[in-house]
Symmetry: C2
Subunit: 213 residues, 2 copies
DNA sequence: TGAATCCGTGAAGCCCGATTAGAATCCGGG
DNA sequence: CCCGGATTCTAATCGGGCTTCACGGATTCA
C-alpha cells in the first residue's frame, strides 16, 4: 500500500511545470493520493475526501488543480500506463543487441513486475480499474493500453517468427497468459510473503519454461 | 456479458426454497442481475436501479428478498466462490485414480477456466471485487476464499512432494502464478477472439510446461 | 365469497459526496 | 510594511441512490 510514484512522467508528461514549485509538488501529492485510493477502492469507490485526507488538504483544494473528479481519475489511469510503457521501452532498448526474442520477453516480465510491485500505485490503479471505467474516460485509456499491448505483441511476434515459442501455443493467447501471470501479482503479493527478487525469479523461470520451444 | 448462473448453489445453498415457486425464481433473477452488474461496475459502482433494470422489476422490490444492498452483494460474492469450489471438488473427485499430481492441476485449470468463462458472472464478480470490499463484507468472503485456495494448495503440495514441479519454483509462488494465468482470462477473453476450447488447450499447455519437472 | 398472505409498486425521506461561492491566508517583490 | 496573486479553507448547494412506507393487485385456502 501507499507506494510512491517515483515517476518522472507524473510531472514531466503532464504539464510543463517543474517539481521545485510548491504548487507542482502539491499537484503530485494529490495525484499520488488519488492513485493510492483508486487502486484500493475502485473507480466508483474513490471519494475526493479520501484523496484529500491522504494528500493532507481539504477536498475543495483539489479543484484548484483538476477541473473534476473524472479528470483526476483519467490522469491517474493514463499516467499509470504511459509510465509503464516508457519504462519498458527503455529497458528493452538497454537490452544487449544479441538478446534472443525470448530473453527480451523475460526482460519485459521483470520490468513490468518490478514496476508494478515496487514503484507504482498508478499502474495497479490502471490495471484494476480498466474494466470499470465509464465510456467517456475509457477512450484515452484504451488508446494508451493498445500502445502498451503493441509493445508486447511485437515481442511475441518476433519470438514466434524465430521459432522460440512452442508450437502448440498461439502467440496471442500466450501473450495474454503471460500478462495474466504478471498482472495478477498485484492482487496477492505482499512484501512480507516473498521478496520482489524471488517473485521475479520465479516468474521468469515460470514464463521461460511455459513458452520456450 | 450476461452469462447465466447455471448454478445449483444459488438456490440450494442459499435457502431451503425450491426453484418452482415464482418467488424463488425472482430471487434468482435478482441475484443473477446483481452478479452481472457487480462484475461490470465493481462494488461501489453497482446501483440497485441497474440491478432492478436487468432483473426487470423496480428497485424497492429487491428489499422484499434482501435486507440491504450489502447483503445482496455479500451473497453474490459468496456464491461465486462456493460454487466454484464445489465444481472443482467434483471435477477432482471424478479424476482417474492414477492421475498424477500435475494432471490433477491441469484438471483444475480446465475446470476453473470453463467455469469462469462460460458459466458464471458470480465468479468474475467475486474475483474482480475481492480487493475492493469494505471490511464488514470481506470476512465471509475471505473465509470462503481461503477454503478455495486450500484446494489448490493441496494440489501443489502433492505435486511438489511427488517431485513433479521444477526445482527452481517455489510451490506457493507457482500456485499464485498459475492462478493469475487463469484468473486474468476474465479480463480479456471474448467469445469472438478465441473459443473456450482453444483457451483451455493453450492454458493447459502453458501451465504444464511452466511447472513440469 | 372473504380473508390472509405473497409480491410488487410509487412516492417520499434522508444521507453522502461532488461541486461551487466566497472569504481567509500565505508569500515574494516593491 | 503592504499589495496582489496564488493557494487553501469554510460554508452552502445540489443531485443521486439507498431505504422506508403505505398501499393495491393477485393468489390461495377455507
Amino acid at each position: 500500500m501507499a507506494k510512491k510514484s517515483g515517476s518522472p512522467t507524473v510531472a514531466s508528461k503532464t504539464d510543463g511545470k517543474t517539481l521545485d514549485k510548491k504548487s507542482a509538488r502539491t499537484r503530485v501529492r494529490i495525484l499520488d493520493a488519488a492513485a493510492q485510493v483508486l487502486s484500493a477502492k475502485g473507480y466508483a469507490g474513490m471519494r475526493l475526501s479520501d484523496v484529500a485526507e491522504v494528500a493532507e488538504l481539504q477536498a475543495p483544494a483539489i479543484y484548484y488543480y483538476f477541473p473534476s473528479r473524472d479528470d483526476l481519475i483519467e490522469e491517474v489511469m493514463w499516467v499509470g500506463l504511459a509510465d509503464m510503457r516508457e519504462t519498458l521501452a527503455k529497458a528493452l532498448d538497454a537490452a544487449p543487441a544479441d538478446a534472443t526474442a525470448l530473453e527480451r520477453i523475460l526482460i519485459a516480465v521483470e520490468t513490468h513486475l518490478r514496476h508494478e510491485l515496487e514503484i507504482s500505485d498508478y499502474t495497479t490503479a490502471a490495471i484494476r480499474n480498466a474494466g470499470q471505467l465509464p465510456d467517456h474516460i475509457r477512450d484515452r485509456h484504451d488508446a494508451e493500453e493498445k500502445k502498451y499491448g503493441a509493445v508486447w505483441r511485437d515481442l511475441f511476434k518476433q519470438a514466434a517468427e524465430a521459432d522460440e515459442l512452442r508450437e502448440d501455443l498461439d502467440p496471442y493467447l500466450a501473450q495474454m497468459l503471460v500478462m495474466g501471470t504478471i498482472n495478477w501479482t498485484a492482487e496477492w503479493w505482499q512484501p512480507n510473503r516473498a521478496t520482489i527478487d524471488r517473485v521475479v525469479a520465479n516468474a521468469q523461470s515460470y514464463v521461460r519454461a511455459a513458452l520456450a520451444a
